[in-house]
Symmetry: C2
Subunit: 310 residues, 2 copies
């Protein structure tokens, strides 16, 4: 079985490497070609010239891209995945198309559903399969896949998800994976903002933020964010694991989803403002834990003792 992988950035490259290490023949594409080069190991890797070429060479194609615009281009552009499918349908005997495409990007569920419909028209099943976890989890191969789309396509992809992640949850029909991912990231951002706020309260009260993190770890206030980002905030190490501007993008998508569902979202609304402030302050390319610096700016006090490390 040939696997295609389009988008070899911070997340995509380590994900593709897990598949490659597992012995799959890869066909890969990245807009800036340098990121598509330099593969070690036995299994063959073809560096394609376009998403269309990847689609022609692969049974299953994964995409891991930054945003809706990048995904639309890769799927619907002149040299895109849909173009490969169209060529087959139009009777080009030499043309080929994949059986399944799985988009791991975090995008609007509206786009997810639209693309799935278009591909279904060509007899290709599409999954929305965004992941939780950022760079460290991608490298370790412990991502969680959140999947929407045809269930038998999900089942066929399971062995591949298994190579890149520790878990895959099938949420339901097309768009269900993206919906859950947006609600999940809203929760990540909210827990992170609440953590930042509590750390600043502790700091201004004259107590030790590190001891406070110990207290938090021992009780109901514990969270993935306190574990993963608490030490980064206290050490003022804002080196990017997941960029502030990417979370801001996800929060905008989540708010649009909530709006379409007519769900009042006071937490999300205020968290999104905070990420807007962080982006406007020039911290967009830093780790999302940089939102803690909003509180530092507002109070004139650093949460950690040290100067910034990033």
């Amino acid at each position: 079985m040939n696997i295609g992988f389009i988008g070899l950035g911070t997340m995509g490259r380590p994900m593709a490497e897990h598949l490659h290490r597992a012995g799959y023949t890869l066909s890969v594409y990245n807009r800036s070609r340098s990121k598509a080069e330099g593969w070690q190991g036995a299994a063959p890797v073809r560096i394609a010239e376009s998403p269309l070429e990847v689609a022609q060479q692969s049974d299953i194609v994964f995409t891991m891209l930054t945003d809706d615009a990048a995904v639309e281009e890769v799927y619907l552009g002149a040299e895109g995945i849909a173009a490969a499918c169209k060529a087959v349908d139009e009777g080009d005997g030499a043309a080929r198309k994949p059986r399944i495409v799985a988009d791991c990007s975090t995008i609007s569920p509206v786009t997810s559903k639209k693309l799935a419909e278009i591909l279904a028209g060509y007899g290709v099943r599409m999954l929305d399969a965004p992941v939780t976890g950022s760079e460290p989890q991608a490298i370790e191969g412990v991502l969680t896949f959140i999947v929407g789309g045809p269930k038998e396509a999900y089942e066929q992809c399971l062995p591949l998800f298994d190579k890149m992640g520790k878990k895959a949850v099938y949420m339901g029909a097309s768009g269900a994976g993206t919906n859950a991912k947006l609600a999940n990231n809203m929760l990540v951002a909210a827990n992170l903002m609440a953590l930042s706020e509590s750390l600043m309260m502790i700091r201004q009260a004259g107590e030790d933020p590190e001891l406070f993190l110990e207290v938090v770890a021992g009780g109901g206030a514990r969270s993935g964010m306190a574990e993963m980002k608490g030490p980064k905030i206290v050490n003022r190490d804002f080196s990017a694991q997941f960029m502030t501007q990417l979370m801001h993008k996800d929060l905008k998508l989540a708010e649009r989803l909530a709006e379409s569902l007519q769900v009042p979202v006071p937490v999300l609304a205020s968290v999104k403002q905070m990420f807007q402030i962080a982006c406007n302050s020039g911290w967009g390319a830093e780790d999302m834990s940089a939102v803690a610096k909003c509180y530092e700016t507002w109070t004139g006090t650093l949460i950690g003792n040290s100067a910034e490390k990033s």
Copy 2:
């Protein structure tokens, strides 16, 4: 060594029972006497008529009360702990006073500090030692103590904390335990509100809230609240572990603390509003997970499939 315990409610009673089971002689007091009765086991328990009597009979006194007013009454009332200390100072030869008092209530750090100063005037060391964890953790003996006050008093109490909890963190001077507890509970409430909001988004998007909790558990969105309260919200079981009205009280204290520190707290402010709405809706005596019902009211949709269980 004789141990005193004042306040034998949902939290205090199981805490006192752990000390009793460990073989300590207890002197106990509760405003409604029935809660002070019915001890099983070998070690003697004296049911006192007042906090003053407990103070006279004990080397170390623990208090676990509902709010600032109850704590002030127990410490400074005519029949209070300070009155026992005063009698000794005034040369009443038969009078006795404790060496250490540890207040496990969640109250204002202003009150904590004031009481500690008054008792210090009588040569009695006072700790603020609030806990994280609610009824189940008190029963299991796995609370975390967050302690402020004289360090040697903390060290003398460690073997006792150890009987009632799994961990004790020494935060610093008097009031430091209470400060950390308020910041901790603000975090609990914020994580809970964010969880409720994300569950409603998922529900309205037509996805399965239980599957979503699985997704959350696998990634950076995970939290103590998702683990402990997620299933309660989805099953609509709002039976009280920690009451909405008690959390509302803590949030008001936390906001006053933030105000005194001049820390802007957009998360806390909005979470406090939500708990006010929940209390006004008649859910004050239900579990704090009942805040999720705000979203149910706002959308006209239940998050869980079932009717309410509490």
